[in-house]
């Protein structure tokens, strides 16, 4: 989403789904996982919209759909690419929208070679390092920076003299205006590249790869096309069914291409809704728990030599659009963190920021734990012993720590593995030998503390404390604040008593000088959450709250903890706490809570009007140019400079937002356009390409290249990969597995498996199989089955159901096994964890694990106990001829 449109968030809001003429839910089980938001899907349906659910399983979402399309897990790019092909071939795209708001006319560098030319890989692939040199993917004559994703990838060229020469443009400053062909005929324009790239994604190919009959596929194509254009709009909703793959980002990119071609972005009833996994997942990337981002999607520093603030901004910022103001965002952030210590002389403490030396995602952290480099670990509201892929690796990693802190409501599996985990039973670990010191600290629930959730549609909603936490339970805010306070007291004392070495004193300076002075209240000394919100919002030199990120300055006169949240505390009022009922305001309900950025509910909504500023149609009017008042107006807050007229042309040499034309609706993008083709920001290709999952019972029908060549794999004896089709031993694991959630439970179970009212609704782990698979393998309804991969074997009760359809793919039948992943051995409702089965093979952009499509064997009966469990897995590995090299080909 970020690389396609400019911001890593849903482009629309759930209430707006009610305005859709057609809704495609794919990679999501919205009715089960977002039941409250699903009311607006039902509202749309009541108004006559068509609802399409594309999913390997028939779920509670499918039950309410007009059309359910079962497809083989892991083949969504082929399916969506097929629709892209249909839209291009049948000329169903929205031409005026395409020319005005997308990069379809841009000419791409002649150094670029597509998967069409290289049989499934792009130009720049280095098989040795398993990475792409992305330079060849740029536009001709202009180098653009991405609005999100890997912005460091052009650092060397962008920050060093002579970078222009590398482009053969005579050492001139890199232009911000790529060449265009308004006729869309140039063979190297994005539109033509797109056409060629997707030419092979025919209905026949879709049928063969996905197992979707052609007529059903065409029905989806027709419904989408009929319901897109000037008068009608269609929306997409997805969730982790798309992200949890070795090509996850590219799944979402395919939908972005499709919605852009159809002209469905920035318009009511359109958009792409990224449905987040739980209450504040959006918030956890906005103010990130991710290692590679600073608040507001500012990239984290890399460990480049001699990088100062100016070089950082030069390397990571864009020339044009709102990322052109990155320096103001960074300086304001540094002022929020280090206050008076941050001065122009010390570059506002820019050097206090930590630096990246590579990927430090959760799975790399586990590898570092196993190596002994990572010695301590905090788990706050996280249960990796159940919820993370290859859960055994997680536990073995934790068993190699010095200390582990678990903060949760109950004694989750991640807190007790050292005494009753699966490895204790198999003998792989022994409690006496584990040196990890484990601290369990009870956590307060959301009803016991003030704070905000940033929900799936970028909406910050404040919640007030209802009761005091019981016993020793404390909020996470309390824990982090007081932990920081105590550490700072110790460091300050050490710095003052004269015993500390100078080097150590310097090392500790960033912690000692942090602004860490939030007021506390009550007997428990709970920090004031609103004071934190006020700091996130930011203030000016007179300590007055800011109201917009347009006010941020690079001279140190403003402080702002997260530039995209600027305005949430405008006028000193907690805007996120607003609760004016929808019945008392317009349908967009701008006075219910507060959405980033600047309370805009549909992003890029400048595109809801035509280039002249008039609505594309009365039916889909949303934001338009009011010539009399000389400003943008409408139902929502314009995602555009309110007074910039549609015919605005920037002055020569203008930078940042000033360089945006009156038609550059995608204001975060370096060229102001929605990107059909991504010239920068992704590690695995400018265009989505169908690759088979890491483990697949089928060959890639489209290219010789079987898998994503730059996918990330963790090589380890406990993380063996299985052979795919065409390799000896692949028949040992003939079935496709997909994992998922149920309405009745919450992710890894910490919030539901201890609740009697929820546990009784889904009382234990089960697997779902088709009647055909049950017959083939002798599985009995409600009896036990053992599911085996090269990692481990788990057991589950069997539900035989038509909801788990077997499919016909490439001339044979493929059976799929469905596994909910909520369970572990603790709590009221128990069972083996599905994530034990998955391998650590990751998307190279996001480092997210592939748990939505892998392969397995299934057999009747319970799994063996004790060491025999390992024996069984070893026997399978031997039978399949698995070595440390299996499945690791480029």
């Amino acid at each position: 989403m970020g690389t396609s449109f400019g911001r890593g968030g849903a482009t629309t809001f759930q209430q707006d789904l009610a305005n859709s003429d057609c809704i495609v839910i794919q990679g999501s089980n919205m009715a089960e996982c977002h039941p409250v938001g699903f009311q607006w899907v039902m509202e749309a349906k009541a108004r006559g919209a068509k609802l399409i659910h594309v999913d390997p399983r028939f779920t509670r979402t499918s039950a309410l759909a007009d059309v359910h399309v079962p497809l083989r897990a892991g083949t969504d790019i082929a399916f969506l690419g097929g629709i892209v092909h249909y839209v291009l071939q049948q000329e169903q795209f929205f031409r005026d929208y395409l020319l005005a708001y997308t990069n379809a006319p841009m000419i791409v560098s002649e150094k670029f070679a597509d998967t069409e030319d290289l049989d499934g890989v792009f130009s720049g692939l280095d098989p040795e390092s398993r990475s792409y040199d992305v330079e060849t993917w740029q536009y001709e004559g202009a180098e653009v920076q991405a609005a999100s994703g890997k912005r460091d990838q052009h650092w060397q060229r962008r920050t060093h003299a002579g970078r222009g020469e590398a482009h053969g443009s005579g050492g001139a400053e890199i232009g911000t205006e790529p060449k265009r062909d308004e006729t869309l005929q140039h063979p190297r324009c994005v539109f033509q590249i797109l056409k060629r790239h997707y030419a092979r994604y025919t209905p026949e190919a879709v049928e063969q790869i996905c197992g979707v009959p052609q007529e059903k596929f065409l029905q989806v194509c027709e419904l989408l096309s009929e319901n897109s254009g000037r008068e009608r709009t269609s929306a997409f909703a997805y969730a982790v069914g798309w992200t949890q793959h070795t090509v996850g980002v590219q799944y979402i990119r395919t939908a972005a291409i499709l919605q852009t071609l159809l002209g469905n972005i920035g318009r009511p009833g359109g958009g792409i809704l990224a449905l987040r996994g739980h209450a504040s997942i959006q918030g956890s990337t906005d103010i990130p728990t991710l290692y590679n981002l600073l608040p507001g999607y500012i990239p984290m520093r890399h460990a480049h030599s001699w990088e100062d603030l100016a070089t950082f901004v030069q390397g990571e910022a864009a020339e044009k659009g709102y990322w052109g103001n990155m320096e103001s965002y960074v300086v304001s952030l540094l002022k929020a963190w280090w206050g008076p210590h941050a001065t122009p002389e010390n570059e506002f403490c820019f050097d206090y920021l930590p630096r990246l030396t590579g990927s430090h995602s959760t799975y790399e952290t586990v590898m570092e734990q196993l190596k002994g480099t990572c010695e301590g670990y905090f788990l706050l509201g996280e249960n990796p012993a159940v919820g993370s892929a290859n859960a055994k690796m997680q536990r073995l990693g934790m068993a190699n720590l010095d200390w582990l802190v678990v903060r949760d409501f109950s004694l989750i599996e991640s807190a007790t593995w050292w005494k009753d985990g699966p490895e204790i039973e198999t003998g792989e670990l022994s409690t006496d030998d584990i040196k990890t010191e484990v601290f369990f600290l009870p956590a307060a629930a959301h009803t016991e503390k003030d704070g905000s959730f940033t929900n799936t549609q970028r909406l910050l909603q404040w919640h007030h404390q209802a009761v005091e936490p019981e016993g020793d339970a404390r909020s996470d805010l309390w824990f982090i604040y007081h932990l920081g306070r105590r550490i700072r007291e110790k460091l300050t004392a050490a710095a003052a008593d004269g015993t500390q070495k100078d080097a150590d004193r310097e090392r500790d300076r960033p912690v000692r000088e942090l602004t860490w002075d939030y007021p506390v209240k009550g007997e428990l000394a709970e920090p004031d959450a609103e004071a934190v919100l006020a700091e996130i919002n930011g203030w000016n030199a007179d300590a007055e709250p800011l109201s917009s990120y347009e006010q941020l300055k690079a001279d140190g006169s403003t402080a702002c903890g997260c530039w995209i949240y600027c305005g949430v505390y405008a006028d000193g009022i907690n805007q996120a706490a607003r609760r004016k009922p929808g019945t008392e305001q317009n349908w967009v309900a701008p006075e219910w809570a507060w959405a980033w950025p600047l309370n805009r509910r549909i992003l890029y909504n400048r595109a809801s009007a035509d280039p002249d500023g008039k609505p594309w149609s009365e039916r889909k009017a949303y934001i338009w140019w009011d010539a009399e008042q000389e400003k943008w107006t409408g139902h929502d807050i314009p995602d555009f400079k309110a007074t910039k007229p549609p015919d605005f042309q920037p002055e020569e040499g203008a930078k940042g937002p000033d360089a945006l034309r009156g038609t550059d609706a995608f204001v975060m993008q370096a060229d102001g356009k929605a990107w059909l083709y991504v010239p920068a920001g992704l590690t695995d290709g400018p265009l989505p390409t169908h690759y088979e999952p890491q483990e697949s019972p089928f060959p890639n029908l489209l290219y010789r290249q079987q898998r994503n060549p730059v996918r990330q794999m963790m090589k380890h004896e406990n993380n063996r990969f299985q052979p795919s089709d065409g390799q000896t031993g692949s028949e040992v694991f003939p079935f496709v597995v997909t994992t998922y959630r149920l309405t009745e439970h919450h992710t890894a179970g910490g919030m539901s498996r201890w609740q009697p009212y929820l546990s009784e609704l889904q009382p234990e782990m089960f697997c779902e199989v088709s009647p055909e698979l049950a017959t083939e393998r002798g599985l009995e309804h409600l009896e036990w089955a053992t599911i085996v991969t090269a990692r481990t074997a788990i057991e589950a009760r069997v539900l035989v159901t038509d909801r788990m359809p077997s499919l016909r793919v490439q001339g044979r039948t493929v059976h799929q096994v469905g596994l909910p992943y909520h369970w572990g051995p603790n709590g009221l409702s128990t069972g083996d964890a599905a994530n034990e089965l998955a391998s650590l093979s990751l998307d190279p952009n996001t480092h997210i694990q592939e748990v939505k499509a892998l392969t397995c064997d299934i057999r009747p009966g319970r799994r063996p106990r004790g060491p025999q469990r390992i024996e069984l897995v070893r026997e399978y590995q031997q039978r399949a001829g698995i070595t440390d090299e299996t499945g690791t080909e480029v």
Binding site: A31, E32, P35, V36, F38, Q39, M42, F58, R60, T61, S62, A63, L64, A65, D66, V67, H68, P70, G211, V212, P213, E215, K216, Q219, L742, T743, E744, P756, Y757, L758, S759, E760, L761, Q762, P763, E764, F766, S770, P771, E772, T775, E776, H781, L782, R797, L799, T801, D802, R803, P805, S806, L807, R808, R812, T813, L828, S829
Partner: protein
Amino acid sequence: MTTAREATDPAAESGYTDHPPRMGFFTDTTVCIGCKACEVACKEWNAVPADGLDLTGMSYDNTVGLGANTWRHVAFIEQRKPLAAQDPGLHHDTDVLAMAEHGSATQPPEAGMTPTTPGSGDDFRWLMASDVCKHCTHAACLDVCPTGSLFRTEFGTVVVQEDICNGCGYCIPACPYGVIDQRPDDGRAWKCTLCYDRLGEGMEPACAKACPTDSIQFGPLDELRERAQQRVRQLHEAGVGEARLYGDDPDDGVGGDGAFFLLLDEPEVYGFPPDPVVTTRDLPSMWRHVGAAAATLLAGAAAAFLGAGKGR
């Protein structure tokens, strides 16, 4: 119809003179997403105990049915019938026999269909329906209750008073729907109160409040019946010919339900009795017969006595 409705004002019949309109539930099962929020909200508000951990294998229904500890129950029905009962618009002019010949590589006899089985690709649907006490117009449970624990409220609903119930259990077999049930620990009877305590405060019942898709609608029964008729018409126009109401008819065997349903199949499919009749319907005539029989018996005895006297 109107006359029948006017004739069935249960609150008035129970002696309320100035009472609020009869309140009830309309459960539109066509928009139920089976989230079970109604079950949980009901238990939370009414402090109904948990009911045990038992994987039943009945689709996603691990609650099984209404009972003393389950006042809302969501049924899940998997069927080999077209989704939403709407014509998916597919062309079924393929040569079915030819395709069947090279069909699924594993054709077990019981594998009735796969999505690629010609002509049946859409033949699967999953019905969900949230069941609840019907709050009958003619409520047998109330008729047979000897203690007055069961009573008719001013809203026309039927409520058990837990502090009066003596656990006699007469109401259990009296219910034509099998709703009311005894808790094994003390034998008292329990069922949905239609959140009588919330209604008194002008609030809607917990289940209706929690329902995200408005499958459970709460309101004056007259309004709900009108809305339901309109919804059925709308569905019929959309090609869903199977849509029908259940429990809305004041002329049925219980005088119409205070909680009625929109279904997509026969009531039996959802576990509802097809033609419920108030079990105390025949009580008056039974008592008449009993009376007549007793009179006859008495007369006979008297005659015998008299006759015997004569004989002596």
